[in-house]
């Protein structure tokens, strides 16, 4: 079994290093094939591990000592329990699909080999993140996925910066830096949390930490919980650190599918699920997490309502769904959060890959107002995106229906009706914006003709590669009960009260109603042809939403600009005037004294002898003085 663990973990690393060998060379098709195969190997190992864990329980392996200093000992250990096995399978499955997909998507890209190297490196980091048996290993994976995300968002770094009104993300390089810096801010919080854990418990192993939580004061637990959650907020793009996720859409679409929808952004949710013994002891922090998640869910959904950018709409919906996951995890229903995480990974990755197909067909055009009528040309992509959108909207019997509905039931069961109501409303909005996207892209009038596009369906194998995701987006929800039985061997069981049991039917009915309602509204508004209403587009709420509540501009004015000015002062006043001036001063002193002393070097032996005699006399006088003193 150890072999399987190591195969699953290291196959992506080997794949990344292999692709890196050809990083600077022109496209080699076999790089794409070999990396995809290695990822498939990793997926098979993960699936076998899942099967093994299902039968025999969790596996723990320690590869080697990593940090041993004083009484601190952190091994390179990996723990594959039920939660990790689920995460590994989800991550490697989506990764494999995305790798195969990228062979087609990146076909004509100069950086083909480099892209696969980054992508596999990301998978390796993500595997370290989910498999580590201690917080430090998790943190290494955490930073690793951050770096890979930076590399991949800025993959087309050569594009020029443009104004916010042309492209809200300015440029890939800018977006990559934004994502990286925002994650750094959050990671500091996480690091503080890890320090606090070590400080108070003296170990970073999950099992040791979670069995010693009782000994800590409540205030300390709250502090640890909050600091760890700050880390999770950054990675999972929760308010107020959410702006980077939409801008991260500057990266290639397979990256958006893998990193910014299915895997990396769910790392924050994974952390909260992993630390469930901690959050169980501090329900008030859990409640805060749930409330924040709920807020983000509706906040992001509202921005998706009016956006015209195909990928940004899906990005906001990701943000919104992450809010759902946090709501569930915060309310103590960890397995529900994990269930939604897995279901979301499948249908959202499918949605993004479908969006990639559309982009490919439309020559990188992202404005859905310029599309329309594509279902005749791109039947398969339409089917995939339709299924994914139905799943996202939560329509029976697709995966999203089961997971989202369970989250709503949890909110109802906890008597947090406010949260329930907002999440319920968001479900309607989700259905609306998902189908606004589908109708504007695939139905209605063929607006693309005016703009001179000649769309075409993508390669066959790309469509085949997407099939597993489509199948899972449909059937995954049917396994809800066995999934629950499986993961609750590690995670706490969540019991619905009698009252909720009675109400389930009604809850499902109202949720389905609002989802169908959203779809119907979208159908009525957008299915025939695009009718633009100047008055609405000029109105204040519309502008606020389409400008993301002016938050990016606010951040720029409130943080970036003053920071740049502060840096300018630090540079011109402190660095140049104090630090540099000191260093330069020393250099000048040496130079000038040297220049002054140069006069001695006449080259005339006679002068040198005079100096020597003078020196000898001076030394003699000194010696006499010293002798007289003592």
């Amino acid at each position: 079994m150890e072999t399987l663990v190591y195969t699953a973990l290291f196959a992506p690393l080997v794949s990344s290093l292999f692709a890196a060998l050809f990083g600077m060379t022109p496209k080699r098709q076999f790089v794409g094939i070999v990396t995809s195969l290695l990822l498939f190997v990793s997926f098979v190992s993960s699936a076998l591990l899942l099967d093994y864990v299902m039968e025999f329980g969790s596996i723990h392996v320690t590869m080697m000592d990593w940090i041993v200093a004083g009484d601190m000992s952190v091994p390179f250990g990996f723990n594959v329990d039920q939660v990790t096995a689920v995460m590994m399978t989800v991550v490697t499955l989506v990764s494999t699909v995305v790798h195969i997909y990228s062979n087609g998507y990146m076909e004509h890209d100069k950086g083909f080999n480099r892209f696969f190297s980054y992508l596999s490196a990301f998978v390796f980091s993500m595997m370290v993140l989910v498999m580590s048996d201690n917080f430090l290993g998790l943190f290494i994976g955490w930073e690793g996925v951050g770096v890979c995300s930076w590399l991949l968002i800025g993959f087309w770094y050569h594009k020029e910066d443009v104004g916010r009104d042309v492209n809200p993300s300015i440029s890939p390089a800018w977006a990559a830096n934004e994502a990286f810096i925002m994650n750094r801010i959050a990671d500091l919080g996480m690091l503080v949390g890890i320090f606090l854990i070590y400080w108070n418990i003296g170990s970073l192993q999950y099992d040791v930490v979670f069995s010693h939580l009782d000994g800590l004061s409540h205030g300390m637990l709250v502090a640890i919980g909050i600091f760890l959650f700050i880390g999770a907020m950054g990675k999972s793009a929760q308010f107020p650190l959410h702006t980077w996720l939409a801008d991260a859409m500057e990266g290639p679409t397979p990256v958006s599918a893998l990193i910014h929808a299915a895997t990396m952004v769910t790392a924050g949710v994974y952390l909260v699920i992993r630390a469930n013994p901690l959050y169980d002891m501090i329900p008030e922090v859990g409640y805060f997490i749930a409330a924040l998640g709920t807020f983000v869910a509706i906040f992001a959904a509202s921005m998706a309502l009016v956006n015209r950018d195909l990928k940004r709409i899906i990005a906001y919906s990701t943000l919104s769904q992450l809010g759902y996951m946090f709501a569930a995890a915060g309310l103590g229903a960890y397995w529900v959060a994990l269930f939604h995480l897995a279901a979301h990974a499948f249908f959202k990755a499918l949605l993004f890959l479908g969006a990639g197909n559309v982009m490919h067909a439309m020559h990188d055009e992202l404005d859905i107002f310029k599309m329309g009528g594509l279902k005749k040309i791109m039947g398969w992509t339409y089917a995939y995106m339709g299924v994914a959108s139905l799943a996202l909207a939560g329509i029976w019997p697709l995966a999203g229906f089961y997971s989202k509905d369970t989250i709503l039931e949890v909110a109802f069961n906890e008597h947090t009706y406010g949260i329930w109501f907002i999440l319920w409303l968001t479900a309607g909005l989700t259905a609306f914006y998902s189908f606004r996207l589908v109708f504007l892209t695939f139905w209605s009038d063929s607006r693309y003709k005016e703009f001179g596009f000649h769309p075409h369906e993508v390669q066959k194998y790309v469509l085949w590669a997407m099939a597993p995701l489509a199948i899972l987006a449909v059937v995954f929800g049917w396994y809800k009960d066995s999934f629950m039985e499986f993961v609750t061997r590690t995670l706490p069981l969540y019991e619905m009260s009698e009252h909720t049991h009675h109400m389930v039917g009604v809850l499902i009915a109202v949720t389905t109603l609002v989802a169908v309602g959203g779809i119907v509204v979208a159908y009525l508004m957008y299915s025939r042809r695009l009718k633009r209403n100047e008055k609405i587009e000029k109105s204040l709420p519309y502008r606020v939403l389409s400008n993301q509540y002016y938050i990016p501009i606010f951040y720029e004015k409130a943080f970036s600009k003053p920071y740049a000015e502060l840096s300018d002062i630090a540079w011109k006043e402190i660095d140049m005037q104090v630090v540099d001036a000191t260093v330069d001063g020393i250099a000048h002193l040496v130079e000038e004294s040297g220049d002054g002393a140069r006069g001695m070097q006449t080259g005339n032996l006679s002068d040198y002898l005079k100096w020597m005699a003078f020196g000898v006399i001076a030394l003699a006088v000194l010696a006499v003085f010293v002798a007289m003193k003592s």
Binding site: R598, M600, Q601, T602, G603, N604, L605, S606, L609, K610, A613
Partner: protein
């Protein structure tokens, strides 16, 4: 009676003459003479003190100095001849190749 002091005074006078010679003279040959004078001033002091203390070490040392001085003159004079052949003069003021 000539005592230790007189010898030391003589040695000091000779040494000073040597120092002044080294500083003031411009001719390389004269510089050599001046250094020889200084060496011999030291020899006198060694010999005198050695005799005063009835310790032969000082006189032994003086012999070493004589030997060193002899070999130094042998090498030094050879160099002087080469310099003279090359530049046609031994005046120090003409050799300022190392001016900084």
């Amino acid at each position: 009676m000539v005592g230790l002091n007189e010898y030391l005074i003589l040695s000091a006078i000779l040494f000073s003459i040597g120092v002044v010679g080294v500083i003031r003279r411009k001719n390389l040959l004269m510089l050599f003479f001046a250094t020889e004078i200084m060496l011999n001033a030291a020899n006198i002091a060694f010999a005198a003190i050695s005799s005063y203390h009835n310790d032969l070490t000082g006189q032994m040392f003086a012999f070493f100095i004589v030997a060193v001085a002899a070999s130094e003159v042998a090498v030094g004079l050879g160099l002087l001849i080469l310099i003279y052949k090359k530049y046609g003069t031994l005046d120090l003021d003409n050799f300022t190749v190392l001016k900084g």
